[in-house]
Symmetry: C2
Subunit: 220 residues, 2 copies
């Protein structure tokens, strides 16, 4: 819905949508989702907040545009022969992008706005699931399950890291559990037997995803 000015009537545009999205993307990458505001974009643009609305419908719209730009940056991985490996590699590309851009995860999880660019991945994931022997119904369900698991993994890991930042590196949930172990014998046994369990990060995601994929494929 970009305004394409056919001809040259009226005042020439000083701002462009591309510039605006570019600045939004930079703020999001550097400062995160909370830091983005129309007023901030305007400031970096050297114009008034309201000028942005001539090129972009709303702040939500601006974020969606930034999201599709981000999707274009995802490197398309080499695809292995084995279909299950292929599934893994494809999801991992998405995981890596979202892990590096927490703001994008929030938008994607909450608003479900997909740009055309991401469909390259979707298409190949579908193919790979089918090659694993799943029906189309099974593929549809599998895709949805892995997407949910991926969103949850990133969300929980990010939340944990964020909470630790706020409270000077103390894993607060752990601390809290330790102080209440007395009332909960099984929790106590677990904390003693596996005291330094940290389930964050890419390696753990890969490990978990393998378990999940085995579960999905064996269930059919």
């Amino acid at each position: 819905m970009e305004k394409t000015h056919t001809g040259a009537r009226g005042r020439p545009a000083r701002l462009s949508r591309t510039d605006i999205v570019e600045i939004a993307k930079r703020i999001l990458k550097k400062k995160g989702g909370d830091a983005l505001s129309m007023r901030r974009v305007a400031e970096e643009l050297g114009s008034s907040p309201m000028s942005i609305y001539r090129h972009v419908e709303s702040m939500d719209h601006l974020i969606v545009l930034a999201l599709d730009e981000l999707a274009k940056e995802i490197p398309k991985p080499d695809l292995p022969e084995d279909p299950q490996d292929r599934v893994l590699v494809l999801w991992l590309a998405l995981y890596d992008c979202l892990a590096a851009n927490p703001w994008a995860l929030d938008v994607l999880a909450k608003e479900m706005s997909i740009g055309p660019t991401i469909l390259w991945f979707v298409d190949r994931i579908i193919k790979s699931f089918v090659d694993c022997g799943l029906s189309y119904e099974g593929t549809s369900q599998a895709y949805n399950m892995v997407w949910k698991f991926t969103v949850g993994s990133l969300m929980v890991d990010q939340g944990q890291t964020y909470a630790e930042e706020r409270f000077d590196g103390t894993p607060i949930a752990r601390q809290f559990m330790i102080s209440h172990m007395g009332d909960h014998p099984n929790l106590k046994a677990l904390m003693s037997a596996a005291p330094d369990a940290d389930h964050r990060g890419r390696d753990r995601y890969v490990e978990n995803l393998k378990i999940l994929l085995d579960g999905i494929i064996n269930s059919k």
Copy 2:
């Protein structure tokens, strides 16, 4: 950290933390996470926004307090004999509570702040995983995986529902995919073979959780 006034010096308190948390909980339940503000709580309390800070450290703190109150309301389910059924029933209790209170999901996923009340569930989930034959390391990982899957399931389902609300009931992601099917043969095949796939809701969560649990237990 509640201020316990020993003796009766000074002005008597008109407000109490319990009242404040009660009102916060009501706003959260009725209007959702975005609607909560100190100013709104103050209004319903019939006092100035700043009086709240005498009883509660910050808005974040207030939300955490409301969250623990919510945890107290979760009905503790009857636990079946079979350990895998037990795991399912316990997670489902948490799922139901979070599905009914989206604001709580946001807090829990982002801030990782747990109240003591929820540990009843944690303890029993641990026991059940161990009874399924998992080691303590395995249990720790399993717990983490299911938590991530649960968070992701709720988040994605809620996001989808929210997006549909905003755009008059149209499943936008689906619409969008249909319009780009031309470039993506596998996507097209899937959309034709499984056209009305809706993966939302409690029943699908149960179904998926069973697959996930089978995958986890068989992997050990």
